[in-house]
């Protein structure tokens, strides 16, 4: 209860204990993943057999470390490619959307705004499946009509990017719109009065103002794409992004090399999270 309200010492003690237990619950799975990356055993399990860096640096099987595990390294590269593409495309469309919703009025604007939000309430698996079904329909039609196989619309990385882009755009739009709403339009008008062209105004005034939101939305999009599983699972072809490669290994039962990858992932997303908080701080 509030500090200003008297309450029994037991109640207060129990409440604090509950909060402490909650944070232990939050931290537990991440902690064990990190700790077992250093366990000198072939299984990510008890007992503890002493510390090693083998799951990072190990050069040959059975203790093949992440820096020499070409399969996982390649999947990281695939994920990076997908994430960069998705981020760039999503940011471009999201910026257009933000200008559309914040600067323009047109009939049906509210309806369009609601439609823009719908990807958030479609479960990721279904979004993936629907994109898969539709793109195959198109590819089949093209093949029957022009007898040309449209490789890009068959399960593969292009489709993964398309599927992720379909919902990440919404999130990026929300972030950029929120910032654009705070912009004082008189700044643009002043610049136009002083003889700047529309393009100059956009380049020297509006976009610099939007930069923190663009960076923030970019980081969020990148992470969401990199870590996406549900939509990706349905659209993936022969090149597996990291989450899919890790999932396959997990089901087979894997060595602690997965812990090492996870630790690197945690460090990566932690760094990006810190960066996005830093950008937001500077902005305020």
């Amino acid at each position: 209860m509030l500090a200003s309200i008297p309450s029994s010492r037991y109640f207060r003690g129990a409440y604090h204990a509950y909060v402490a237990a909650f944070f232990v619950y939050l931290a537990a799975p991440l902690t064990v993943v990190a700790v077992f990356a250093f366990n000198d055993s072939l299984f990510p399990a008890m007992p503890w057999k002493g510390a090693t860096l083998g799951w990072f640096l190990g050069e040959k099987s059975p203790q093949l470390g992440i820096f020499h595990d070409t399969e996982l390294l390649e999947s990281i590269l695939v994920s990076l490619q997908v994430a960069v593409c998705t981020t760039v495309v999503s940011l471009a469309l999201a910026t257009c959307n933000a200008f559309l919703f914040e600067r323009h009025d047109f009939p049906g604007k509210n309806l369009l705004y609601v439609l823009m939000l719908t990807p958030l309430v479609i479960p990721g698996v279904i979004l993936g499946v629907s994109v898969l079904v539709f793109s195959s329909s198109i590819a089949n039609w093209v093949e029957e009509t022009f007898s040309y196989d449209l490789e890009a619309l068959r399960p593969g990385l292009v489709l993964v990017v398309i599927g992720q882009f379909a919902f990440i755009t919404t999130i990026a739009t929300l972030v950029i719109s929120a910032r654009l709403r705070k912009f004082d339009v008189s700044l643009e008008e002043a610049a136009l009065n002083l003889g700047a062209s529309h393009f100059d105004v956009l380049r020297t005034i509006t976009l610099p103002f939007l930069k923190p939101a663009l960076v923030g939305a970019g980081i969020v999009s990148f992470l969401m794409s990199f870590e996406n599983f549900n939509t990706t699972l349905m659209l993936v072809g022969s090149d597996a992004p990291l989450t899919i490669a890790m999932f396959d290994r997990l089901r087979e039962g894997s060595t602690p090399v997965l812990n090492a990858v996870s630790l690197l992932l945690m460090a990566g997303s932690g760094g990006l999270a810190a960066l996005s908080i830093f950008v937001r701080r500077k902005d305020e």
């Binding site: 509030l2 200003s4 309200i5 799975p29 559309l100 629907s130 870590e227 997990l250 992932l265």
Partner: protein, 286 residues
């Protein structure tokens, strides 16, 4: 000249968003609905049919899995709310000074990490040779290794963990807007802890509770990773059925029907939630 220019700009901005929503959201779902309503007669020829939907209602495995997924998602949502509420109240009302943003940030941290990594952590904790099993043996509470994976309770632990953020954030922001003096006034007027909660705090937090519950329910219903990894072969989650039909059995007609059914259930719950709380969709989502 000006309005002309403006209209051109509008058209330029409308084109990409309309293309996106039509080609990637609307048409794929229409196509999926159409495929779910057809039946393969022979190679390459299809006929209209409800058979994929009748199969869902006549095959007990299908609709039981569906119901089980729905019921477990509701339970997971309720549990998440129960666990998150005291925590959110602590962050919004009890914690002081620098502790507040710190605790809030700590709640966010796990969700910057991939769901796969989080679930993997639970597997290491709960498996037969896992940390918790060893701890229990070391304490002498059990005689041999205990397998805690592949049970419904384990799936629940994972689902609640994965959903926590989406409950804590809306709760903290609504509780934050509740003026402390209202709570104090209620106490001054002689209300008990319970009455203050029931008559002051919970009504004020209702919008946050509803939007948290909607998002958590939706995410749980559509989850694939957590039930599959923590529940093993017998987890019987509906998204797994969809995956099996599409990828393993290559029965896209049946899989599409399942997808549509899950989408209907999920939209229905969102709609009911919004109705009950009289909130607009736009406000809850942004």
């Amino acid at each position: 000249m000006k309005p002309q220019h403006f209209k051109f700009g509008l058209a330029l901005l409308l084109t990409p968003i309309l293309l996106w929503l039509t080609l990637l959201i609307a048409l794929p779902h229409v196509d999926m609905a159409m495929i779910s309503l057809r039946e393969r007669v022979s190679a390459g020829t299809y006929a209209f049919s409800w058979s994929n939907y009748t199969a869902f209602f006549t095959e007990p495995l299908y609709w039981r899995t569906f119901m089980r997924t729905a019921v477990m998602s509701i339970m997971a949502t309720a549990l998440t709310l129960l666990i998150a509420f005291p925590i959110s109240f602590y962050i919004a009302k009890v914690a002081r000074g620098r502790l507040r943003p710190l605790l809030f940030l700590l709640c966010l941290v796990p969700f910057w990490v991939s769901e796969l990594v989080r679930t993997y952590g639970w597997m290491i904790l709960l498996r037969e040779t896992g940390v918790l099993s060893s701890l229990l043996q070391w304490l002498g509470w059990v005689d041999g290794p205990v397998e805690m994976l592949y049970q419904d309770a384990t799936i629940m632990v994972g689902l609640v963990y994965t959903s926590m953020l989406f409950m804590v954030v809306p709760l903290v922001s609504t509780l934050d807007s509740l003026d402390d003096s209202l709570i104090e006034a209620a106490y001054d007027l002689g209300a008990s802890h319970w009455r203050v909660m029931r008559d002051v705090v919970i009504p004020h937090a209702a919008p946050g509770i509803v939007s948290g519950c909607i998002v958590v329910f939706m995410l749980t219903l559509g989850n694939y990773l957590t039930p599959t990894l923590l529940g093993g072969k017998d987890s019987l989650w509906f998204t797994e059925q969809i995956y099996t039909q599409f990828i393993t059995r290559f029965n896209w007609e049946q899989g599409s029907a399942f997808g549509i059914l899950l989408l209907i259930l999920s939209s229905l719950i969102v709609w009911i939630g919004l109705r009950l709380s009289r909130q607009s969709f736009t406000k809850v989502m942004s």
